[in-house]
């Protein structure tokens, strides 16, 4: 059996900092939506969203403090999603 990871309790200060970061990034998303970046409109919005997701996963969902089994499980899930979406483009992009 794999070793049990120790419980990790985050301080209020750290949680508040993450929350503040998320609020700021939300503000940036709203702000950027008023600027016409042409082709980059969607990629920039997605990039900001990805950064926010990373913060939520690492701190609110404690991924930063987990062991290799949880990392591997998470990576498998994301890989599956990438395959499902990515392989659909073999059809949609070449019709």
């Amino acid at each position: 059996m794999e070793k049990q990871e120790e419980h990790h309790i985050l301080s209020y200060k750290k949680l508040a900092m993450v929350l503040a970061t998320l609020v700021v990034l939300t503000g940036i998303t709203v702000g950027v939506s008023y600027v016409d970046l042409g082709f980059f409109n969607v990629p920039v919005a997605l990039a900001i969203a990805c950064i926010k997701v990373t913060f939520v996963l690492l701190f609110f969902m404690h991924l930063k403090y987990e062991g290799p089994v949880i990392y591997l499980s998470f990576i498998s899930t994301v890989t599956f999603l990438i395959i499902m979406i990515g392989f659909t483009f073999f059809d949609v992009a070449f019709r």
Partner: protein
């Protein structure tokens, strides 16, 4: 072991009696048996419906039912068989019963969640039943619920896909429980390469259940939204795409084939070495092939869509990827055959059923390659060839593995033996009936007979008639098999803890096992398939006493 100490007489949680001890149980073994009762009920309903379909097709024109009823019956047969029998059969019954024991622990990681999964399964089945008698009756869409028909038709599609949605949740939660138990509750001294292959196959399956099932759940929600709100997701007039539905449906439903077959392969990997009295050939290769099938099986969904109008690039790539799945599947088949080579083989009903599995699954796999290649697939797409192919895999494969598992672990689950003679008769009739039933369908498909058609041209009558005869022989064999098992309760010939000479942990505990599985900390062998200490033959233990 006295009977008072078995899990039948001591409840978990303690202090409950009668029906309450079952309906509120946290015991994985009781839940396995509760799944067994429910799954067998659905199996026989769907088997009867299938037999009615083949009876209808035995002659041209109307034989026993009208076309509208025929459409509903083949849909009902498919939905029940797929969602209520083939997918849950081995993981929910034998997985629940055996996975914690094979891992050397007392229960699954989330026992209450396990009970909740069973209730979800029952509610899903109840919804399917209600949809039969509610509103416009059961859908006639086929189990695939393809749009635009499923969005436009008046029948009870909404309620039926809700049933499938609930059943999907049950499947996901079972998968989650197994993965967590595998990692977090395994015996502290059990390394990854000491885990029995049945448990490894359940682990690979559980990942597919967790990752793929949400896709079909979302898809079914979209169908319901389309029916009630006409959003236009699949409607080209509103900017939608009907092929999107097919992509989403097969993103789950092709991996679902591996949810069905992987646990069956795990069963065979347990049975073959026990009755060959020989260590399994290629243990690590089988472990990796299970994981390989889980991964590769998730990359090939669009091979169901070659004729649907998707791009040629996609057709080419998915055809190529499909051939990859054959490699890990073949690794397993060759390993089973190599295990038997120069083994000290003892024939028993579980072994006979396993051999039938290997033969039928091989035919199913090889006909799958015919369909994976684009050229022949376009010729036989949506014909009886396809029907025959997936029945060779799902029924010849998973179905016979289920029968084998039932005969293999019956003494462990109920603590009693059954008569070998009738088990052989039932198995042989089922196997021969299977071939008479499905080989004519392969030929009919090559001749061009479409699937799901109520009527056909005169040249297809002989093949359909022969297939109908085969269906009756097969069903007779299955009935004999189950009556024989049921009769074992009347004679109650007590089974020893290890009637077969097995080496995995479930054979080290009494039959039936005590409520917490192990009275003492189990002694783990370095390798789960070490038969060097097994000298008794099977017949000495069992056959003479039955």
């Amino acid at each position: 072991m006295t009977e008072t100490q078995s899990f039948y007489t001591i409840s978990a949680p303690p202090g409950m009696h009668g029906i309450k001890a079952w309906l509120l149980t946290h015991d994985h073994k009781r839940l396995g048996l509760m799944y067994l009762a429910a799954v067998l009920f659905w199996f026989f309903v769907a088997l009867f419906l299938g037999l009615m379909l083949r009876t209808e097709l035995m002659s041209q024109g109307k034989t026993i039912m009208e076309p509208e009823l025929y459409n509903s019956v083949f849909t009902l047969h498919g939905v029940i068989m797929v969602f209520l029998f083939v997918i849950p059969a081995i993981p929910a019954i034998f997985g629940n019963f055996l996975l914690p024991i094979q891992l050397g622990t007392d229960d699954v990681f989330f026992p209450r969640l396990n009970l909740f999964s069973w209730y979800l399964f029952m509610f899903g089945g109840l919804f399917a039943l209600i949809s039969l008698f509610w509103g416009e009756g059961f859908p006639d869409t086929g189990w695939t619920f393809y749009v635009p028909f499923s969005v436009e038709v008046d029948t009870n599609v909404g309620l039926t896909v809700t049933a499938a949605f609930i059943l999907g949740m049950s499947s996901m939660l079972t998968g989650l429980n197994f993965v967590t138990t595998f990692h977090r509750k395994r015996h502290k001294d059990m390394g990854l390469m000491q885990i029995p292959l049945f448990t490894w196959s359940l682990y690979a399956t559980a990942w597919v259940q967790i990752l793929a099932t949400p896709v079909i759940s979302i898809t079914f929600v979209l169908v319901i939204l389309e029916r009630f709100l006409s959003i236009g997701l699949f409607d080209p007039d509103k900017g939608g795409d009907p092929l999107l539905y097919q992509h989403l449906f097969w993103m789950y439903s092709h991996p679902a084939v591996y949810i069905m077959i992987l646990p069956g392969m795990g069963v065979i990997s347990e049975i073959i070495p026990v009755f060959s009295r020989k260590s399994i050939f290629g243990y690590k290769a089988i472990v990796w092939s299970s994981m390989g099938i889980a991964v590769a099986g998730s990359l090939v969904w669009a091979h169901h869509m070659y004729t649907s109008g998707m791009s040629d690039v996609s057709v080419f790539i998915f055809s190529l990827l499909t051939f990859l799945v054959a490699i890990p599947s073949a690794v397993k088949v060759f390993s089973w055959v190599a295990t038997m080579y120069k083994g000290s083989i003892e024939m028993t009903p579980p072994l006979l059923l396993s051999l039938i599995f290997i033969y039928l699954f091989s035919v199913g796999g090889l006909t799958g390659l015919v369909l994976g290649a684009v050229g022949p697939d376009i010729h036989v797409h949506d014909t009886h060839f396809v029907v025959s192919h997936f029945h060779f895999v799902m029924f010849g494969g998973t179905g016979f593995a289920f029968f084998a598992a039932l005969h293999f672990w019956w003494p462990k689950m109920f603590g009693i033996m059954y008569k070998f003679k009738y088990a052989y008769v039932g198995s042989i009739l089922a196997g021969i009936g299977f071939l008479f039933h499905y080989v004519p369908m392969l030929i009919l498909g090559m001749q061009g007979m479409p699937r799901r058609y109520y009527d056909y041209l005169p040249q297809y009558e002989t093949g359909n008639f022969l297939a109908g005869i085969g269906a009756y022989i097969m069903c007779l064999g299955i009935v004999i098999m189950f009556v024989n098992l049921a009769l074992s309760f009347r004679k109650r010939v007590v089974a020893p803890a290890d009637p077969w000479g097995g080496t995995t942990l479930e054979w080290k505990v009494p039959s039936p096992p005590p409520v917490h599985n192990f009275i003492e900390d189990p002694i783990l062998p370095d390798f789960p398939y070490d038969f060097s200490g097994i000298t008794d033959s099977v017949t000495e233990n069992t056959d003479e006493r039955v």
